[in-house]
């Protein structure tokens, strides 16, 4: 028996599956980063005593692809409003909390799927997960990153009507979130000020946890990673829910 939550979820997954150009297009950037950085910086990183850079980088790129896909999911809300479908869901006898949860779960699922594809591509170019028994934990971290940033993207979208402005704002947020998350270079040894910013960035804990689960080196430790991610996710989801309840059409 389908319930409203499932049907909301299914709709998003179906739409994503059908838009192959979007799917393939969003793989371009992670592949480019893996190849350009992975092979470009690889020897410098090794020379500096860091070991195999691809092992370090791949979890960061997986997190990046999840971050991007999740945040941009918010645009679907703007489309739904613009093309009128949002009205159809808002007059249905379904609570706003269910509507927003269904949306966020759908977007998060799509982002995790994207992350898994990037993970497979990483393996194809030479990345080797070191602890197969920790793969379920890696999935947990992927899901938390996905859910957190889908909620954030949707929260922002529920306050915006302009399709052109949304990508600009999201890019403005995504870039610092990504570059200052420890995805590309390690936190340890970063200059003092930068170090503080990186510790304030929730994505840092997602990258750290994911890297820990895939390669065995988590700087913060899984416990802190999970604690921070779950905490921030709950707060952002509550804000998203509040903003979505105020949406009018």
């Amino acid at each position: 028996m389908m319930d409203p939550l499932q049907v909301m979820w299914l709709r998003q997954v179906k739409k994503y599956w059908r838009s192959k150009p979007r799917m393939i297009g969003s793989l371009g950037q992670p592949i480019l980063f893996l190849v350009a950085f992975g092979f470009g910086f690889g020897h410098i990183y090794a020379k500096a005593g860091g070991g195999n850079y691809l092992q370090f980088l791949a979890p960061g790129i997986i997190a990046m692809s999840i971050l991007f896909t999740a945040m941009f999911t918010g645009i679907e809300l703007i489309w739904d409003r613009r093309f009128g479908f949002l009205k159809e869901t808002l007059v249905a006898p379904v609570s706003r909390s269910q509507l927003v949860l269904g949306r966020t779960l759908g977007g998060a699922t799509v982002a995790v799927a994207q992350g898994i594809v990037v993970c497979i591509i990483s393996v194809l170019v030479g990345f080797r997960p070191e602890h197969l028994e920790l793969l379920p934990l890696a999935l947990v971290f992927m899901f938390l990153i996905a859910f957190l940033f889908t909620a954030l993207g949707t929260a922002i979208a529920s306050r915006m009507e302009d399709m052109q402005a949304f990508p600009l704002i999201i890019n403005f947020l995504i870039m610092p979130l990504f570059f200052l998350s420890g995805a590309l270079f390690p936190l340890t040894g970063a200059p003092k000020g930068l170090d503080v910013v990186m510790r304030l960035n929730p994505l840092s804990y997602g990258v750290d946890g994911l890297r820990g689960a895939l390669t065995g080196t988590a700087d913060f430790g899984f416990r802190l990673d999970l604690l921070v991610l779950v905490g921030v996710t709950i707060v952002v989801f509550i804000i998203e829910k509040q903003l979505f309840s105020k949406v009018e059409v």
Binding site: Q6, R11, R82, G84, F85, E88, T89, V91, P93, S95
Partner: protein, 266 residues
Amino acid sequence: MRGMPAIVVKGLVKKFGKVVAVDGISFEVKEGEIFAFLGPNGAGKTTTIKMLTTLLHPTDGMMKVNGFDPVSQMDDVRRSFGIVFQDPSLDDDLTAEENMHFHAVLYGVKKDIREKRIHDLLRFVELEERKDDLVKKFSGGMKRRLEIARGLIHHPKILFLDEPTLGLDPQTRNSMWEHVSKLRKSEGMTVFFTTHYMEEAARIADRVAIIDHGKILKVGTVDELKRQTKAKSLEDAFLKLTGRVIREEQSTSLERMRTMRKGWGR
């Protein structure tokens, strides 16, 4: 409850900043009745429907829909009605059947009756052969028919139709009204529709409310309206009440442009 009015509205007001879209209207719609809001563009028809269907909060006034208050009993109200919006409201990236299925699940239509209802309604609006096509491949008229079918899946007690026949050819228009009146008989459904076609209001509605600038000028059967204004036809009555005619061609093309602009973005 028998005899209870399907819709009660008293002193309803909606302001958007300085614009008074709905200016203190009162009316009742009886159960099983077909009731029309007739008025030109910008009269406040859509705004009234949006308040009755929980999409907008009124600035002032009282409403009851199927006995429930759209402000404080949203869910009960939402379970009571079906709606066909003035502007498009389908998901173009889903198939016709998926749009129907989505709606049926949101409204809690039980699985065992769901497929049959979807199937019957799609056949009725002559879209059965196209059920697996993405809606974006549909023409405007086909989309409209699908929206009408969708609004009926959960057998609503009250059906709101906001300019439902806009952009439909006469044949589809007739068959839509035929089906609506069939449902009214079999299900005892109440119908509230808005239009700026005189002919449609006169032919379809049991009672008509003439609305202009956010105010209801007169409510009654077409005969009553004609008698009270000493007019020969509904057009004539409308002219006497509002001091103007609805120029159909002009308003339709305006509406179309508005709908298109909404669809394609600025």
